[in-house]
Amino acid sequence: MIFPGLLSRLGCVLLLALGLLAGTLMLPRAAFAQGAAPDISAPLAQFTTDKYDDTETALNALAVSGSPAAAGIVAALADGRLFYSPATKQVLIRTAAGGYVDAAGGQPVAEAPPGLKAVRVNNRIRRAVEAASGALALVSPDPAKRLEAAGAVMRARDEAALPALDAALAKEADAKVKSALTLARASILIGKAGVSDADRIAAIETVGEEGNQDALAVLRSVPADAAPAVKAAANAAIDGIEYNLAIWSVGQNVWYGVSLGSVLLLAAIGLAITFGVMGVINMAHGEMVMLGAYTTFVVQELIRTYNPALFDASLLIAIPIAFVFTGLIGILIERTVIRFLYGRALETLLATWGISLILQQAIRTMFGPTNREVGAPSWMSGAFELGQLSITYGRLWIIIFAMLVFVALLATLRLTRIGLEMRAVTQNRRMAASMGIRTNWVDAMTFGLGSGIAGIAGVALSQIDNVSPNLGQSYIIDSFLVVVFGGVGNLWGTLVGAMSLGIANKMLEPYAGAVLGKIALLVIVILFIQKRPRGLFALKGRAIET
């Protein structure tokens, strides 16, 4: 009772796909032979009833009608450009220019009737349209589109697409598309009734060579009543793929771990400066990250308003602005609050905690408590396949960005004058002061640098997390964990700490689950700190003692 109607619906999808294909293939002939398009007024009327079942029936009827207008109507439906007037029952297609043309004839409509409504699409209709346009795209002149269509057909595994596939295979010249088409054909054969055992085993071998998750899904669909030889072949192929995938999944976990580690590194590296180098327990560090994310939001809003063409560069523009803005806020906090509290750890902790609450509430008052949308530039969207690894561009760029920030910071500390002064003050404040270094000024700059780095971390984190007033809170504990684990006062320690925590977390997660994994990690870190209270890379010298 709970799962009815599926088969009939699948049937509709197949019919539709085939019909459309047939319609397009026969289109020139039909146009020549009859000189007039077939009547499609009945299905068009069904688009105007605002019911999904009717829309689906109309799609089917359109598909088998062989009308030249069918493909255009289906495309319009997929893009949400198909409209109807509830009053006049007219069906119209909106053109790219914003005008309307009559769906049946294609002639432009001077004035669209008032109260136009879009023909609604749900997942069912969307799937039907997708399958239909997948079959249509098999004969597309663009090889990339044909490749995509072959993939779609393979995932859908519609038996009815077989004749279209055979036709496409016969004509195909591109080797890559041809192998994709062969694979799609084999996937359909495996589950199809009435295929000979030899054909089926050959198909299983073709699919087994593909070796990915889609192939696994196909192989699992071998009918239960298949011959023993077929089943054995399928099981062998499944075992092979599963072994292969198990090896890849280790690589995948490492990749996820590195990606999480780079996020931790970004969040913690600013803290490594303020906490590690200056010894200030800065509870407002997370809010600096949050301010950086909001800076990104403001920059994007300005770009959207004044120069949308620059949108793809919005993050690059936001990086220096966020650095300067949060850096200045950091210097302001240092000059007005923290400098009076040096050497009083508990008071610093409470004061910075108070500052973090003030900053959160200030942002909440200015921007509201709800999340703000920071868009992803096109070069950060999407993913690519590396073997069986699916790598998303967003994560890849964040890893690269984290490494760049790390190298830049290391270079600043090693190679610049301010870096030298910072290290001098860290090692021995009084000696540095007597050498003529303005330790006050160095403190302010160091705190500003740490805050500024937190700000640019915010730019990157705005891509993967909520831009809300609470953004910083979720990173502050992790950041302290990384810095303490890695060893206070050592940037390399922060890098190794962040990466090892990230990878350990992702290795534990598949077995222990996200909740237990995190707890297990905390226990491991506590035990580790018991053994090595100074963390992975202990800094030698007086910095810690004082």
Partner: protein, 434 residues
């Protein structure tokens, strides 16, 4: 250390709440000159839950404003008393006590999370107050002093699962949730329900994540893997609050489309979608009892007035807001019926009260202190609104005690005399026996 933190938080929370209350009292001075009725608002205005609860505070203030413009209740003006429990569960109980004992409010609208509701329950029982709770929740509760205007599991979760099974042919289920009482109870009910419909245990995957979980790579990859077993798979998401944005972003990143693996969410509404680029999410679903896109005159009128009041013509409306509106109107009607704001008279008067909801029908307060609602299934559109793809033909009565759970299937709630019991066991014939 944690003690220090929570104290600091609490103090900051108080300062903010005080300021808010002062500001509102200042506005309401002219009305307060004559005799007034005080209405308590107990929603977090700071901390993690502020993202959701601030809107509900504004909704109650809007309803009070409207009611006063229409002449108040029993000839008296309503004055709001707003406090800020700052997303801090023990503070909810303190603030509830302040509202009932010190401010002597006639009614309280408040709470979002179940844990905050559980924390104020003893206070409302002890001081005999009335609480209207406007959020969908896990059920398994019925109290004399609480009126639940959000959905019980059978008014949201079960119809959503039915829709997916019937319309999308889903045969394999991922139940993903945040690790706390609402998702755990809801998933327990859903698991029992699915099994009763013949779904095998290996076709159900249950996954919990901590609050605010932000790194979804592994879990989304697992879902993808689970979904490639050759059967149509769907995700039923009880992921709450902030964790949703990175979850949906990761789905989009890994290329999981609604046509492959649809996700139906019970905690994602118009407000939550405001922070996401919804283009990759088109077709994913949500089940609620109200959507902003409901196309009836009552809703259009409400949205217009609300935007006028809040002076922002882009502000969205959502399901818990509708539940707050229904609760408020029910309370007004019951007070007028009882002729007094005395809880002992208003509580029995509330049962059977019927007010228009915003989806074009009427909602009625049932003897189990829950209301009747239609269930709507919506698909996310690219503009962050929902396209309503299914609506139950009639209203659904809440099952506060789920018939699918061992511990509660024999329990019923009826707050009318002579039963007057929130957990009556029909097998043993005793009240309070689970």
């Amino acid at each position: 250390m944690s003690n220090l933190f929570s104290n600091a938080r609490r103090m900051a929370g108080r300062a903010v709440a005080g300021a808010a209350a002062l500001a509102i009292a200042g506005v309401a001075v002219p009305a307060a000159a004559q005799e007034t009725i005080k209405v308590g608002v107990l929603h977090s205005l700071s901390g993690t839950m502020a993202i959701s609860e601030t809107t509900l505070k504004d909704t109650v203030l809007f309803m009070i404003d409207q009611q006063n413009a229409a002449g108040g209740v029993l000839g008296k003006k309503l004055t709001p008393v707003v406090v800020d429990p700052a997303s801090n569960w023990p503070l909810f109980a303190e603030k509830a006590r302040e509202l009932l004992a010190k401010e002597k409010v006639a009614v309280v609208f408040g709470c979002w999370t179940s844990v905050s509701r559980k924390s104020v329950l003893p206070v409302f029982k002890e001081l005999n107050g009335i609480l209207f709770y406007p959020v969908q929740y896990e059920g398994e509760e019925s109290e004399r002093n609480v009126f639940y205007t959000g959905a019980a599991p059978n008014q949201q979760a079960i119809p959503a699962v039915d829709y997916l099974a019937e319309n999308e042919g889903v045969k394999r289920w991922v139940l993903a949730g945040t690790d706390y009482v609402y998702p755990r109870t809801t998933n327990k009910i859903l698991e029992a329900y699915l099994k009763s419909k013949g779904v095998a245990a290996e076709d159900i995957m249950i996954n919990y994540t901590p609050f605010g979980h932000s790194d979804w790579q592994t879990i989304v990859a697992d879902i993808k893997k689970f979904g490639s077993a050759g059967k149509k798979t769907a995700v039923v998401s009880t992921i709450n609050g902030d964790a949703n944005v990175p979850f949906y972003k990761e789905l989009g990143n890994q290329g999981i489309k609604a046509t492959d693996i649809p996700v139906v969410a019970f905690s994602v509404g118009e407000e939550e979608l405001a922070g996401i680029d919804t283009k990759p999410l088109v077709g994913h679903l949500a089940a609620w009892n109200y959507f902003q896109s409901v196309d009836v005159p009552e809703n259009a009128d409400f949205i217009k007035k609300w935007r006028g009041y809040i002076k922002n013509d882009k502000r969205v409306t959502n399901d818990p807001m509708e539940a707050t509106v229904i609760g408020f109107n029910m309370w007004v009607k019951a007070v007028e019926k009882a002729g007094t704001t005395d809880p002992d008279a208003v509580i029995p008067a509330l049962i059977g009260v019927s007010v228009p909801n915003l989806s074009g029908g009427f909602s009625t307060m049932m003897p189990n202190h829950h209301i009747t609602k239609p269930v709507l299934i919506g698909e996310i559109k690219d503009d962050g609104q929902f396209d309503i793809v299914e609506q139950t033909p009639g209203l659904i009565v809440a099952e506060e005690w789920s018939p699918y759970l061992e511990g509660s299937k024999d329990l019923i709630a009826d707050w009318r005399a002579p039963m007057n019991c929130g957990n009556f066991n029909v097998k043993t014939g005793k009240c309070g026996a689970q």
